[in-house]
């Protein structure tokens, strides 16, 4: 029995019709789940567009995180996993939303390019989930900044039309419309594919351990080095004998690594630190499956955790903060949280008045 279906004497429930049509159109790729919700796995962009149309036309709601009112239709884009074309001159690649970032990165290897450095958990995500989800599609770039991995996007808007943003490194053509999709949980548009900015694949890595008198000194040194242009792939930190031990992994060309090491080293020396020359006491754990939870944290939270004797592995470093594995307070990146500003809800309501894409969380 399809939820909401009626006998022949009453007008059929639109949601019941939606479910019937979804089942008819997708066959085994449609599955009814508990609470009247449904899960769809369209195998092509065309099927995905059909799902969105049926949901919209019948007053349904797309969703990910359980019903509020109308039971949601949860859509998997995993079958949309085409990667390419590669554009080696611009160091970009176009990939569909269901492609795993780890798969894209493997493909980039042949071009001597990389999507990284990304956090361990991010690397396991589908592209669409990385861009739309709590990571917001962000990665760190030289200068201590964060920047979207995508340089151009194609998405389906709530009205079913396509939004295609022109690939350009920057623009001055009004508000950044990609922001309707990045970090928005698919609630103002559903991503189909993106053109990604890649970087030169590191040809070497180096890990150096520093000892610094205080957490505040570490944070000050790292911030200064990032502003100067140093790139850090990963920073593992812990307290030992009253000092902070910081194991830094650099990647790039040999000259790049030398420059970054010298820059960070100078600032760590300036904070009374020194090269410790040995690894952290805790051996590097084997890669976990799945990787441990990650949180987006400010540097103040990192310093506080270290003051309390905590330890952490830090990725996606910027002047404002980092993504942390370990005992650091911050925003949980495994779940979509309520949006940080009420104006965003008003914007979502204006863009998708019927909330067919789920409405704000």
């Amino acid at each position: 029995m399809t939820p909401g279906s009626t006998n022949g004497h009453e007008a059929p429930d639109p949601l019941a019709r939606m479910h019937e049509q979804l089942r008819d159109s997708l066959g085994p790729r449609y599955e009814l789940t508990a609470g009247g919700a449904a899960r769809c796995s369209p195998r092509s962009e065309r099927e995905l567009l059909l799902v969105l149309k049926l949901v919209r036309d019948h007053g349904g709601k797309l969703g990910r995180h359980g019903p509020s009112g109308t039971p949601p239709v949860v859509v998997s884009r995993r079958a949309l996993q085409l990667i390419g074309p590669w554009e080696p001159q611009s160091a970009t690649v176009t990939a569909e939303a269901g492609a795993l970032l780890s798969e894209i990165d493997r493909g980039a290897l042949a071009q001597q390019l990389t999507v990284g450095p990304l956090t361990p958990r991010a690397l396991q995500l589908e592209l669409g989930d990385f861009l739309e989800g709590p990571y917001g599609g962000l990665r760190s770039v030289p200068g201590g900044r964060l920047e979207p991995l995508s340089v151009g996007l194609t998405a389906v808007m709530p009205d079913g039309l396509h939004a295609v943003s022109r690939a350009a490194p920057r623009h001055a053509t009004g508000p950044g419309l990609n922001a309707f999709f990045l970090g928005a949980g698919g609630r103002m548009g559903v991503l189909l594919r993106a053109q990604l900015r890649l970087g030169a694949r590191p040809i070497a890595t180096r890990t150096t351990t520093f000892s610094i008198p205080s957490p505040a000194g570490l944070v000050a040194a790292v911030r200064r080095a990032l502003l100067e242009g140093a790139c850090v792939e990963r920073l593992r930190v812990e307290r030992r004998d009253g000092r902070v031990m910081a194991e830094v992994r650099f990647g790039g060309s040999q000259s790049q690594i030398d420059r970054d090491l010298a820059t960070l080293g100078t600032h760590i020396l300036g904070q009374g630190g020194r090269v410790a020359g040995h690894r952290l006491r805790r051996p590097e754990p084997p890669p976990a499956e799945p990787p441990p939870p990650e949180r987006e944290a400010r540097w103040e939270a990192v310093a506080k955790a270290l003051e309390g004797g905590g330890s952490a592995a830090l990725y996606r470093l910027s002047v404002d903060g980092a993504v942390a594995e370990g005992e650091v307070e911050g925003r949980d990146l495994s779940a979509e949280g309520p949006w940080s500003h009420p104006a965003l809800e008003a914007i979502a309501a204006a863009v998708d008045p019927s909330a067919s894409l789920g409405g704000p969380p």
Partner: protein, 521 residues
């Protein structure tokens, strides 16, 4: 060329009853800071859009506001917008008027909201490397105040003496050292603004959830909100600067050198490649030492060197045959590349050294430091006095686009080809990124048929330039914005995605009072 026609206040549209009522109410709210005087309405009717300057020469006043107000606080800005909303009267935020796309023309009258009184700059937070500054602060005093504390914003648009922070945010401004420090949107930590609903909005700092609200406000050119304040990233003042210039045999070779420098992880502060005629023109100052060129700032070329030369020697009659002129320019081949690195001494010297190797490998001839130092010394060599140019029967304008590297040469060729019959055109490449760069075209337009014919030709030029850029896959602006000038082209660039922009407008400015007619037609 006819003499400039006098401006007559009698040609100003009279104040509507609605505007008069609003002026009376605002005068109570902001005593002494509301004006309906003719000279103020005329002054605030335009920015530095060349077409508006042409109109002025013709004695035509660009669409003026009904009144001008000077609020002194965010609360006063909010009250003005709330009052405007109650009266359904347009509000046109106004910084320092340096825009070049007609973004402040009051196409439906209304209130010109001058924000220069919001100029307070707080002390730098030296731990987080941020500064809080009011939207009305002019660029150069802001930088000077930061320098006094040992910091820099790193934002150096050529308009730095006559543009405000709010204007930078509204139009997604870029400075000459953007390759290192980023564009203004890269420097924003958080923003404060008053929306068309009359509500104060503060964008959240990271970590935060949901879409990036700041990204949805930046570049809105006053059509959604007016910025009142921003928290910006600052950097320690650089210890050292390293300069280098190179000569390349072709544009392609120079572009490839820039691409390799960026791909290799180097981060010059300034990158500027001048196309052949641009290079040759500025080299004329030293005819006996062709390597010793003087690279100008972008407008310095046009208004400082090119236009006086052309005005005297060639005159608008000859420039009327732009195609011929552009063919002559094709005789030149060599291109000048200017690089500047800054920051910590050891790092900037190392990076400059690696860049030298990469440029040599790409076929660049090392010209030493001097051409780059000269560019730096004259980087604000900008004259805003367009009137003498227009008096000479010409209009000069600039068009800055951006594209990924695989499209850069096509954009260059197609825009040149499309505009060559209509204007003298040259270009430089700057604001480089790993995946692409900005192309900055400079045009000189002339016509033998008088002011109206010149205006027609100017319009034709822009239609051709925008169509060519769009066809080649570029975005139609990298840092000047859209305004009135490019609004139709923006609709074309966005396609169906303009519905998202319209949704944003409905959400933040439901009555459509904020700077009507801009961004989207």
């Amino acid at each position: 060329m006819t003499a400039p026609a006098p401006l007559s206040a009698s040609s100003l549209p009279p104040l509507s009853a609605l505007a008069q009522a609003a002026a009376a109410e605002l005068s109570e709210l902001l005593p002494g800071r509301v004006s309906t005087a003719d000279e103020d309405r005329i002054s605030y009717a335009r920015d530095m859009w060349p077409k508006a300057i042409l109109w002025i020469r013709q004695g035509r006043i660009p669409p003026p506001p009904d009144l001008v107000v000077w609020p002194g606080s965010e609360e006063e800005v909010q009250k003005v917008i709330q009052l405007a909303r109650a009266h359904k009267l347009p509000v046109i935020p106004f910084g320092a008027g340096s825009g070049v796309c007609g973004g402040v023309c009051a196409v439906r009258g209304g209130i010109s909201l001058d924000l220069k009184r919001l100029e307070r700059v707080e002390a730098v937070d030296g731990e987080r490397f941020t500064v809080d500054a009011g939207a009305g602060v002019v660029g150069e005093p802001l930088e000077r105040r930061l320098n006094a504390q040992g910091y820099t914003l790193g934002h150096f648009p050529s308009s730095i003496y006559m543009s405000t922070l709010g204007g930078w945010l509204a139009a997604r401004s870029a400075g000459q050292l953007s390759t290192r420090y980023g564009k203004i949107e890269d420097m924003v930590v958080s923003l404060r603004a008053v929306t068309g609903r009359g509500e104060i909005v503060q964008t959240p700092e990271r970590p935060c959830s949901g879409p990036d609200l700041a990204e949805l406000l930046l570049g809105s050119e006053g059509t959604l909100c007016t910025f009142t304040r921003a928290r910006l990233r600052v950097h320690p003042r650089p210890q050292h600067q390293a300069f280098r210039a190179f000569r390349f045999r072709s544009v392609e070779a120079g572009v490839e050198a820039i691409r390799r420098v960026l791909r290799d992880g180097l981060r010059p502060a300034a990158v500027r490649l001048y196309d052949p005629f641009d290079t040759a023109l500025v080299a004329r100052k030293k005819p006996h030492a062709p390597e010793d060129v003087v690279p100008p700032s972008e407008r310095g070329i046009l208004r400082g060197d090119l236009l006086p030369l052309l005005t005297r020697a060639v005159a608008s009659r000859a420039l009327g045959n732009a195609r011929l002129f552009n063919r002559a320019a094709d005789l030149f081949r060599r291109c000048l590349l200017v690089l500047m690195f800054e920051g910590e001494a050891r790092r900037s010297l190392q990076e400059e050294g690696f860049a030298r190797e990469l440029c040599a490998a790409a076929g660049g001839a090392d010209l030493g430091e001097e051409p780059a130092r000269r560019w730096y010394a004259t980087r604000y060599d900008v004259s805003y006095r367009m009137s003498p140019v227009v008096d000479g029967g010409m209009v000069a304008d600039t068009f800055e686009v951006a594209a990924t590297w695989d499209r850069v040469m096509e954009v260059y060729e197609r825009v040149r080809a499309a505009t060559a019959p209509l204007a003298f055109v040259m270009c430089h490449f700057s604001h480089a990124y790993v995946e692409g760069c900005s192309l900055y075209f400079s045009f000189a337009v002339a016509s033998q048929g008088g002011d109206r014919a010149l205006e027609t030709r100017y319009d034709d030029l822009w239609k051709a330039a925008l169509a060519a850029a769009l066809a080649a896959g570029a975005t139609i602006s990298h840092h000047h914005g859209v305004g009135l000038l490019k609004s139709r082209a923006l609709a074309e660039q966005l396609g169906d995605a303009r519905r998202m922009l319209q949704g944003l407008k409905r959400a933040l400015d439901p009555d459509g009072i904020m700077n009507p007619g801009k961004l989207l037609p």
